[in-house]
Amino acid sequence: MGRAEQGDDGTIMTELRYLAPNSLDEAIKAFAAAGNAGRILAGGTDLLVQMRAGVVKPGLIVDIKKIAEMMAIEETADGGFRIGAAVSGMALHDHPRFGKVWPGVLEAVNLIGSKQVQGRASAGGNLCNGSPAGDSVPAMVAAGAIVTVQGPNGRRQIPVEQVPTGPGRTSLTPGEILVSFALPPRPEGSSDAYLRMIPRTEMDIAVVGLGVSLTLKDGVCTAARVGLGAVAPTVLLVEAAAKALVGSKLDDAALNAAAAACSAACRPIDDKRGTIAYRTKVAGVLLKRTTAIAAQRAKGN
C-alpha cells in the first residue's frame, strides 16, 4: 500500500489515511468526501479481515470510537434504551440493566464471535456488514429497534429491518453513518429471546437465527414481533408469525401457525451449512423454542 495503486474498477487508489474524529459532524464530512474509498471502523472485526483478504482496499478509515454518542448506552426517561452503534458486545454485557430489560437482544449480541471479538465487535457493525446471518439483527428486528443514521443531509430514523437490502448491502446513502439503536420502553409482562441453530456449541455462523419479543397479559399474548435470520438475502420481519401469536395463549394451534408462517417466509440458500429443506424446517422449530423462552421470561416481568 506504499504507492498509489490501480483499483479493480480502474480508478487510482490513493494511500490509506486513518482518522479518529471526536465529533460526528467531522466524521461525516470526511467519510462523505472519501466517497467509495471510505470505510467506517467500529470494532473492526469484519473490516480488518476484509482488508487482510484484499476484499476491500480503503483510502480512508474513519474510526468512530472517539465519538461519545457512538459509545454510549443510555436508559432513556421513558424506559427505553439508546445504544451507540460502536458499543461492544462486552460493554453491553457489563451494563447493569440492559440484559434484564432486553435479555434476547443481549444473548444475540453476545453470540457474535469469541470473547476477544466481543471486546470489540458492535451491533452497529453487525448490522452494517449486511450479512443475512448476523446474530444481533433478528433480535433487534424483534425488539422493534429504530436506528438513527446521520449523513451530509442530516439525521433520519428508520426501522432496523429497513437497513439491510441484500448480502453485504444496506439502504444507507453515501456519506451516511449508523449512529445508534433506540429500543422502545417495555410494557409489563414483556420479554424477548434469541436462538440460533449451529452444528456446534460456539463460534459458528447461524444456519437459522430467530428472535421473538412479546408481551403477555393474563396469559394472553397482546403483542409480538418475530425476526428471522440466515434464511433469505436479508433478515426478515415475519409479521404473519407475530399475527398468529397475538390474541392467543401461545397454545399449540397458535405456535403451529406461527411456525408455519416462519417456514413459509424462508427463501434460503442451499449450502454445506444447511439444505433448503433443513433451514425451512428449523425456522419453524426455532419459532416454538424461542417463543417458549421469551414467554417464560415475560411471566417474571
Binding site: 500500500m1 487482510r52 469469541s114 476477544q116 471479538v117 470489540r120 463460534m203
Partner: protein, 165 residues
C-alpha cells in the same frame, strides 16, 4: 506512505512507535516494538494466539489497527510474569503440561488471566466458553481447562490467606 507516530502504554510502561496506517497491532508488537510473545496464527480473529488486553478488555491484536492504540493501555504476555517470577497461571501450565507446541500458549494465558480478573471463581463451563476463541491443536484443551481451574482455586486460597495475615 507516511508513517504514523503512536504513543501508547504497554505493560505499564509508556511506548512509542512508528507504523503504517494499515498495520495491525500484532504487526507493531512483533515488529518495531520487538514483543514477539504474541503469535500470529490465523490473522483473522479465529485462533486467539495474538490475544492481548486493550484497557483491560480481551482482544485479538490482529483485529486491531496499531494506530488505534494511541492513548490506550495494552497488556501483552510479556507483562504477565513479575520479573523472573512466573504468574501462577504460567507456573500451573508448566506443572500440569497444559502446553505442547506452545504456539497457542501466550494467547491462552492472556485470555485466562483476563477471565480470572473478571471472575475469580469460574465454573468449568465458563472456562471452556471463555477460551472458545483460543484454538489449540495439541492438548485437546482438557489440561488447559484444568490448569486454569486449579490456578483459580490456588489464587483464591492465597487471597484468603493474605487477607487473614
Amino acid at each position: 506512505m507516511a508513517k504514523v507516530h503512536v504513543s501508547t502504554t504497554i505493560n505499564g510502561e509508556p511506548a512509542e512507535f512508528l507504523c503504517e496506517p494499515n498495520d495491525t497491532m500484532l504487526d507493531a508488537l512483533r515488529g518495531p516494538l520487538g514483543l514477539t510473545g504474541s503469535k500470529e496464527g490465523c490473522a483473522s480473529g479465529d485462533c486467539g494466539a495474538c490475544s492481548i488486553t486493550l484497557d483491560d478488555q480481551l482482544v485479538c491484536s490482529c483485529l486491531m489497527l496499531a494506530v488505534e492504540s494511541e492513548g490506550h493501555e495494552l497488556r501483552t504476555i510479556e507483562g504477565l510474569a513479575q520479573g523472573e517470577k512466573l504468574h501462577p497461571l504460567q507456573q500451573k501450565f508448566l506443572e500440569m503440561a497444559a502446553l505442547q507446541c506452545g504456539i497457542c500458549t501466550s494467547g491462552m494465558l492472556v485470555a485466562s488471566d483476563a477471565l480470572l480478573r473478571r471472575n475469580p471463581k469460574p465454573s468449568e463451563e465458563e472456562v471452556r466458553f471463555w477460551l472458545a476463541g483460543n484454538l489449540c491443536r495439541c492438548t485437546g484443551y482438557d489440561k488447559i481447562v484444568r490448569a486454569v481451574l486449579e490456578t483459580a482455586a490456588d489464587m483464591r486460597e492465597q487471597g484468603t490467606r493474605e487477607s487473614i495475615q
